[in-house]
């Protein structure tokens, strides 16, 4: 079975631009979460979606948005990119909490 897949793996953007990151969960997983990991820190929660509804949002500005599609894949959008948005963006899917979260390999975003 395929794990959680994320695309692209690497991305370089200029300040002020917009970016879209994509995530496909493990088959059968209806929950998708997004995390931001800045170099040298632990991952920080951005969003969780379940059955296409937002279940939770972390302490991130409105420039960050996400959505989940009927096939349970998800997109994370970031507008008006700042240098500080440079990070590894991780997607995780879950069947339920008894099974924990499975993470993808992430998208490395560099803002210049």
């Amino acid at each position: 079975d395929a794990g959680v897949t994320q695309s692209p793996t690497h991305l370089i953007k200029t300040r002020g631009q917009h970016v879209t990151l994509r995530c496909s969960p493990i088959s059968g997983h209806k929950s998708v979460s997004w995390y931001q990991q800045v170099l040298g820190q632990g991952p920080q929660f951005i969003f969780q979606y379940y059955e296409k509804e937002e279940r939770g949002r972390g302490n991130f500005p409105d420039r960050f948005s996400a959505r989940q599609f009927p096939n349970y894949s998800s997109e994370l959008n970031v507008n008006a990119l700042l240098l500080g948005d440079s990070a590894l963006y991780l997607c995780a899917s879950s069947l339920n909490m008894d099974y924990g979260y499975t993470f993808g390999s992430g998208t490395r975003l560099t803002v210049v």
Partner: protein
């Protein structure tokens, strides 16, 4: 706030020696606790979790963790470390049913 703390930024051990990575938690009620490992430029890999039951939890790659309620700790252990265990280790808790809260991480270096 419900959280975990990893008091050591780095742990260095010789191959074949026991490895311990420390984690303490501050969680009300019954905690959900996790350990993840991250190799360079990769996503997070699940090692083990504690939800309820036996205080000694066995996980992947020969790792185990002991839940200690009196000391509010959930230390990760491996009896005999390998050079390939060198990585970044994260302890995490689940303060609600959708958001993982991670520690700052501990870098483990196993020397040959």
């Amino acid at each position: 706030a419900q959280s975990v703390a990893q008091p050591e930024d780095q742990v260095n051990v010789a191959e074949g020696n026991p490895l311990t990575v420390k984690c303490t938690y501050s969680v009300s009620g019954n905690p959900y606790l996790f350990w993840y490992v991250q190799y360079p430029n990769r996503g997070l890999q699940f090692l083990l979790k504690y939800i309820t039951g036996d205080n000694l939890v066995k996980g992947s790659y020969g790792f185990e963790a002991e839940f200690n309620k009196s000391q509010t700790s959930f230390h990760l252990k491996k009896p005999s470390a390998l050079v390939s265990d060198s990585a970044l280790y994260f302890c995490a808790t689940l303060p609600n049913d959708y958001k993982l809260s991670f520690g700052a991480g501990t870098t483990v270096t196993v020397r040959a």
